[in-house]
Symmetry: C6
Subunit: 264 residues, 6 copies
């Protein structure tokens, strides 16, 4: 194999690295070489009980507390009260963060009646509402939990793809670093099997019992425009939140320079 030559124009070009937003999640920022893609949406997918909502919430809470970035959590399943109660076991005082104007939680209640007609949800209202929540705290980070609440009723693949692109584009235009959670499908990363293609960054969480013992694993499936660790990394959840284990992050340091990606 002849080594690819460095090109003249390449020498001139500035090797920019994609701007990143640190998650503060222990171990993850090492694997991603800095965090999630700043100003772009990231898809966190996995089965029930894998830790998607916890991941998204920790990203938001640490953003507000450690990195001075306010955030919006748009919840379709849980109420502000539910979330606050769940977060308390990790020692976070969500109510105070809300009162301090660092986090805004918006529980969107989708009426069965508005779904009955076509099974499709119109995004315009969501954009309006989400825009107001973002403005209310000057949010830099946004979580949408979960994608299925919006798109679960779509049956036309082409339309779903177009709407996903529209949502992702809207978030990019807003300049926020976003996390969108998605449920696992049968034999595919996501329920509809195409959300991962439209996304710039995809992280898969897994929680599986093998021979009666359960383990949690995290894998960065895709990260457009950035180098990243590509293996499966075990992670734990304890009283300080999620910890992606350093074992493989040591190995990663040795191989990181040889794995760069442009766009999948």
């Amino acid at each position: 194999m002849g080594k690819s030559e460095a090109l003249p124009s390449r020498a001139k070009a500035q090797r920019g690295t994609l701007a990143k937003a640190p998650t503060g999640i222990s171990g993850l920022d090492e694997i991603t070489l800095g965090g999630l893609p700043r100003g772009r949406p990231t898809l966190i997918c996995g089965a029930a009980g894998c830790g998607k909502t916890l991941f998204a919430m920790e990203f938001l809470l640490r953003g507000a507390e450690q990195h001075g970035e306010t955030g919006v959590f748009m919840a379709f399943e849980e109420t502000e009260q539910d979330l606050s109660q769940n977060v308390r076991s990790l020692g976070f005082d969500l109510d105070k963060l809300i009162a301090d104007g660092k986090i805004a939680v918006d529980h969107v209640h989708i009426e069965p009646a508005e779904i009955h007609e076509t099974g499709e949800y119109d995004l315009e209202g969501l954009f309006l509402r989400l825009g107001m929540a973002i403005d209310s705290v000057g949010a830099k980070r946004v979580v949408l939990d979960t994608l299925e609440a919006l798109f679960g009723g779509f049956t036309n693949q082409a339309l779903l793809r177009a709407e996903l692109r529209r949502l992702f584009r809207w978030l990019k235009d807003k300049g926020v670093t976003a996390i969108i959670t998605g449920e696992r499908g049968e034999g595919s990363l996501t329920r509809q099997g195409l959300e991962e293609y439209v996304s710039d960054c995809v992280i898969l969480l897994d929680h599986r019992a093998t021979e009666q013992v359960s383990t949690r694993r995290l894998r960065i499936v895709k990260y457009r425009g950035s180098t990243h660790g590509t293996n499966e990394y075990p992670f734990l959840i304890d009283e300080n939140g999620i910890h992606v284990l350093p074992l493989t992050s040591l190995m990663l340091n040795h191989t990181a320079s040889s794995e760069r990606r442009l766009s999948p």
Copy 2:
């Protein structure tokens, strides 16, 4: 891996633990560190013959006898007489508990005729009826057996999700600790494959014959806002009801402190 730092605001926050309702089921309260989430619904799922109804019934009976919490059993498959007869082999006198006003059994008979039109079941009537049953005994615990009786005919995923959320929200608003049983789907925890995402707590029961010998196993798939054992635990059913085996619960004590969860 740098250990995540404890945050200033976290130090101040009171580490509240989610309130729990003890099941009285041997071994289970150890694994769940106290029982099921109080005031929230829990989904018990598994295939035919796995012990779902027995689990739900024992939770209710022990609640009434051991913890002074009255309960309602809303049955769609079995009559009060069937249930009473089945429970007798475990030494429980369901008829007496009903006569004493500690348990109310409501057998709901769904007429094929009312399903014929859309395959969808309107929840309003159920809420009215369940509300009355709850009030009649001042119930703190509720069992709905089974989810499929209500939602088996739904074909629109978005609508089903909205209705599930409505049911779970109604139960939360009532303040009851609830168990809802659900049938196993092919390749997914539940028949429709989304019930487990909407639930706060999900326990999977399994009864499988491997090389001619059958074993029963229990796994806590999800428990929002609480630490819990995450392995598969073998269990037995004998004349005192369900026994989750202590073998792994000993192991659990050693690892419990390192596994905390906020919300999946």
Copy 3:
């Protein structure tokens, strides 16, 4: 694990055991600790050639000859003449039992024309006809062979469930011990995958060739309100009918006391 305490009210309650109807099938009454649930329907399911019809017929014939219980065989696939001819190889004289008023065989011919419209079969006519057959011999035992003849055309899951419940309820109200045969589905016990949830007792028959050698196995998947052996038991078919092998029934005696069930 702390052993569950015996409750005060439990001490008072009479530990009734569910009434059972002996099948007379060698080995089976040991595994079931007495036979099938008396006055309740049992589902016998399995693939083509597994021995479902033979099982049901032997239950009826031995009921009439050994236990003085008359029976009705409602056949949708085979005629009285077919059944009589098939039974002769086992040494049973079905014609004589019919002439003596101990067994009634009713061959129901479902016209394609009456199915054409909705694919659904109305149960009212069946109840009327079955009721008359039961009365004609004062039947204590009933066989319906096969469930699919009645429900094969249903496509609405909620409606099918409601109709199954109606059939099972009607049989219970009649007070007969019933066997209903059901065909195996792909990846599930039954064709529609929900018949086993609605049933009180489910027995699975299996006939499979592994490395060119075939074996037959029987498993009690579910038995509401009763203890039962839970393993897979090999069985043979010879000139005296079905024999469930004693090998594991010996093992069962040792473990029977530690496995009690209320309702699955």
Copy 4:
């Protein structure tokens, strides 16, 4: 296990064995203890290239030549000329047997136009035509090749079942020993997955390449009212037709007495 007692009425009953029609196929009549059920239809199923048509044709040809039973071959795929040409390599002179009035071949051409409407085929015309062919040679044996030509377009399971029953009943009423060929479905014996339940006798042919070497196997899946070998038997096809290998037929002699069946 207590051995099932012989019953009084059983002692009196004549142990009739089901009448059988010898196939003349080497080895098969030993495994079936005499041949196919006389006066009943048998389903021969398997994938493309398994030898279904050859099996059916040899049954007919040997019936005419060795057992003095005339036969009708109703073909939906191949013409009389095709069949005659194919049969010649086995040394059979089909044209002469037709000229001698021992075999009648009827090639039924189903026009696409008559299918277009409902995808369902009306059996009345077939009965009329088949009846005439049977009468023309006084046929005792009938082959229908293949079931899918008649029922491939059915989508309503209940209707298909009713029509299959009607066809099988018509053949029984005619008193002919019939073979009906059926194509293999995915994960089931037959394409629709219910043909095997409606049949009295089912034989599965298999032709599969394992590690580059192909083997042919035959298995009697079901045989109502008769004892039969239940293993998988290898078979060959040579210039004298099908040979089921004697290896296991020796083993069968030893175990035959312990495997009797009534009706599956």
Copy 5:
């Protein structure tokens, strides 16, 4: 096992062997004992990249050059120019063969518009056009590449079967030796899963990477009216075309006499 007796009428019958058309493909004519069935259509099926079109083209080219049989290639995917260009790497001058009137290539362009209505393609126009191409060179060999171009839009199984039969019958009536290529389906030989049942001869090509190394294999799945090798044969593609490897063809010589087939 008693050896099947030779029958009186068989002794008289002339053991005709089915007429065959040599392919000229190295190794294949040995395995098929002479080539493809003359005057009948053969189905060549396999996944993308397995070599179907190459197989069909080599059959045609060698027919014209080695066996003096002119041929028609009816292409639905590639133009005459594409085919000529692809064939040149094997050293064939397709343009000259066309100019010499030995081969006719007809590229059929199916307009999306004519499919839009029913998804079904009317064969009459094809027959007319193919008939003219056959007459133009007096073709003895015909290739249709590919079946899916004609039948990809059919959803009614019964209608598809009838149309396939009509096409195959038309080709037989024309007296040409034909190859029809077909795409592989999931879990079945062909896309619709019934093309192989309607065909007289079926050859499966396979190209699969196992542990990073790819191998090509060929298997004769079905050959009505003729003996044939039944194993999987490895094959290569080099500058002289396809070579089925002689390794197993040696083994075949030893076993050929014991494997004769009539019709599958």
Copy 6:
């Protein structure tokens, strides 16, 4: 096996090799013996995160910089700004190449509204627009990223096939060397399972984690009219782009002469 003879006309024919466009991707041009088929479209398929877009982009960038061939990138998912940002990490200055008129990027925004009606996308507008982009830079290379954006909504297989052919034909008529990216389907190379049959050249990219360690592999599934390496080749992505590993390319040199292909 008799070696196929060289034919008289073959000796005369010029052994033309298909014209190829070098990709400049390290290792790939060796495996393909020169690059992708010049003037024909190539399908690059694989799951999310496999590197499809990177592959296509590197082909275009190296074409412009190393081989003096201008190119058009038609993007349906990402904007020009996104692509430019992603490419920067590899040291390419896309903006400059665009300013210099060497590359044109056209981001096509498909409105949900225009899909709503039939789910089908009309190609005429695309051809017009793509033609203008090609003319604007005099493009020799074209990338369409991704096929699903155009065809995701098609449900009629015959129509999809016809439209794919139309697109591929249009690209061939334009004389450009094209790459079209396609998403992976379940159990098939592509989402619809027929794109690979219509394509002249198909390359599969794979990125899979086995026992926690991820590896990337590339396989040339199909290459009409050319010899090519047929194994699975590991590849890396580093700061100079994609590197297909030379390990197997050494092996390839030894076997290349024995593997020639015409058309699959």
